[in-house]
Amino acid sequence: MSVLDVDALIDDPRTHVLVCCGSGGVGKTTTAASIAVRAAERGRKTVVLTIDPARRLAQALGLEELGNTPKQVAVDGFTPTGGLSAMMLDMRRTFDDMVIAHAGEVRADEVLSNPFYKTISSSFSGTQEYMAMEKLGQLAAEGTWDLIIVDTPPSRSALDFLDAPQRLSTALDGRMIKLLTGPVKAGGWGLRKVVSGAFGLFAKAVSTIVGGQLLADASAFVQAFDGMFGGFRERARKTYELLRSSGTAFIVVAAPEPDALREASYFVERLEAESMPLAGLVVNRTHPVLAHLPSAKALAAAENLEAAGKAPLASAVLRLHADRVALAQRERRLVNRFTKAHPSVALAHVPAMATDVHDIHGLRAIGERLAGSAT
């Protein structure tokens, strides 16, 4: 099993983009922020793009509200040699900016005021992922930063953000909407006839279900959007290429739990399939044993003390130690299952902090634990 050397990774001047991904609730955002703090203190000019940080983590980075541009992190006791900026993704504004940049003012107004655009830009399930990638593309194009660290949205599945641009493209592609709203052309050969006939019915069914007005809005939207489409595709392709370039590294974050590690496995396989550069897996919030004392021995001693009615503190200590040994064994078993399936993936373990982290000191401490795996 190889070890993920985080310091070597962030110190390497060739590393320009670090993407932290993993399923929801594994501590992705905190990990991204911790690596950013560490990289900044080790001399890299760093920016961290967070998606949906817990309020107190956002405050730790001096982020009080969504700001769609990076802001320098100015917190007492934090004077990194490299410099650290942070931002929270504003999905809607990123989308608006993109439309304005591609459409010119007149058409942009038309698009921005369309009710269907409002739906797509605020509640379509892939929009956040797409906009995170768009923002990454923008930050990379600015060329201001040595290192860009990106957190990925808390998706249901860790893979969503790779697929989102494609899904959104399909949704905005004019082909479908024309089939649903345009007149059904008769004629042609057999199957096509049947299918377009069915499409007529289907279109009717869909418009009954979603409402005719929504379809009309969607149609107007797609028409207004049509010319911009090439530009959007081109940008999505560029970001995809950036993700595959040698200056990018992916860090997959997982908790030592079956579900999170299963997602991590899918993700690792997917990155391999897309030839995307994987740096390694961070197993977050582990509970290593701190005292070398076999569990059976501890339990036997605890039972002795309890039977004699002596030393309640010592017997409690022995029992909680036995609990911890069992927990550490479970975690090790789960991680071993992962490494058996993916023997070449480098690992770093981050022992759990006793309480939630909400300041720079906490982030620094996590960074130390993260780098500690390599020493």
């Binding site: 949704a171 069915a198 409690a316």
Partner: protein, 334 residues
């Protein structure tokens, strides 16, 4: 313990639709599976429904990935039975359309072309409308004799952040489609979900973030006139320290001398670094116990019945699921 454990109230026991939500990572799928088993005790037939398309039920019960049909996944003593349904949104849409339009075999072709994916993209709520519609159909389905086919339906629902939107989507969509099939169906769905036949259970861990989300979700459910059922405290780990020692230990004050003396009395003469390690573990334990205590106090504010499930150190397999179900039954789940 500050949370009043009143278990399963009469009101919850009367519900036929049990919606299980919770923050991601709290184990809501596991709890939904165990709840289905618990409710099937005593010869009842329960349907466990999965709506998020991740085949979690199949993994839970260690079966092949489920098709879009109601498959038996477990039996319980006394003739009880759990069936599982993995709702495939596209299949549900075809089924729904077939009720009103005769699409014939072209439906399959439409599916291949991505038309359905497109339709659900066009109206993001459509997906949830179909899911809740299917759930309602399962809850209200009757056999030839007019009896309900299922005594209870358990739904492994979307996480707390989306649960109210999910359950109330039909209401929102009903305004969009004022006529047509959706209107006729939506009234029934809204009525069921807002009635005493439905209880929304929230799974949480005794940790700060999940508890906060749970408290927020209860507020949102109340605000939407949906009925919160029970709080299910999952993966509760044992407390080992005497209560009076917790505060000091959490502050890092563990009397190492006393620990060492106790260990010697038990016949364990340990090296200094081992004792230091034990003390460090004790401090971490105490900090966790305190955090859990705070979490319980916060949960007590929402004043809902609670069910506790112990952490299973060996992880969850089908046998462990029965164990959790048993613990639920012991706490009054019926």
């Amino acid at each position: 313990m500050t949370t009043p454990v009143v278990g399963w109230t009469e009101q919850i026991a009367r519900a036929r639709l049990h919606v299980v939500s919770g923050k991601g990572g709290t184990g809501k799928s596991t709890v939904a599976g165990a709840l289905a088993l618990a409710l099937s005790t005593g010869g009842r037939r329960v349907l466990l429904v999965e709506v998020e398309g991740r085949q979690g039920i199949a993994q839970l019960f260690d079966t092949q990935p489920l098709p879009y049909s109601e498959e038996k996944v477990a039996t319980t003593p006394g003739g009880g039975e759990v069936r599982a349904l993995h709702v495939d949104v596209e299949a549900a849409l075809m089924e729904y359309l077939a009720m009103f339009y005769n699409l014939g075999f072209a439906g399959r072709t439409l599916r291949k072309m991505g038309a359905i994916e497109f339709a659900t993209t066009l109206a993001p709520g459509l997906r949830d409308v179909l899911l809740t519609g299917k759930i309602k159909e399962c809850v209200t389905r009757t056999d030839d004799t007019g009896r309900h086919v299922y005594d209870a339906v358990v739904v492994d629902a979307p996480p707390t952040g989306r649960i109210v939107k999910f359950l109330d989507v039909t209401k929102a969509m009903a305004d969009l489609a004022k006529v047509g099939p959706i209107k006729g169906q939506s009234d029934g769905v809204v009525r069921l979900l807002h009635s005493g036949d439905t209880a929304v259970h929230l799974v949480t861990l005794l940790e700060e973030m999940p508890v906060r989300e749970t408290v927020e979700a209860v507020g949102e459910l109340d605000g939407a006139d949906l009925r919160p059922g029970a709080i299910i405290l999952n993966r509760v780990r044992p407390h080992r320290l005497p209560t009076r020692s917790v505060t000091a230990a959490a502050d890092g004050r563990v009397d190492a001398g006393r620990v060492r003396d106790g260990l010697v009395a038990a016949g364990l003469a340990l090296a200094d670094d081992v004792v230091e390690g034990l003390v460090a573990e004790t401090v971490e334990h105490a900090v966790r116990v305190q955090a859990e205590q705070r979490a319980r106090e916060q949960l007590a504010e929402v004043d809902l019945p609670a069910v506790e499930l112990a952490d299973l150190v060996d992880g969850v397999d089908p046998a462990a699921l029965y164990e959790l179900a048993e613990a639920m039954v012991e706490q009054g789940v019926r």
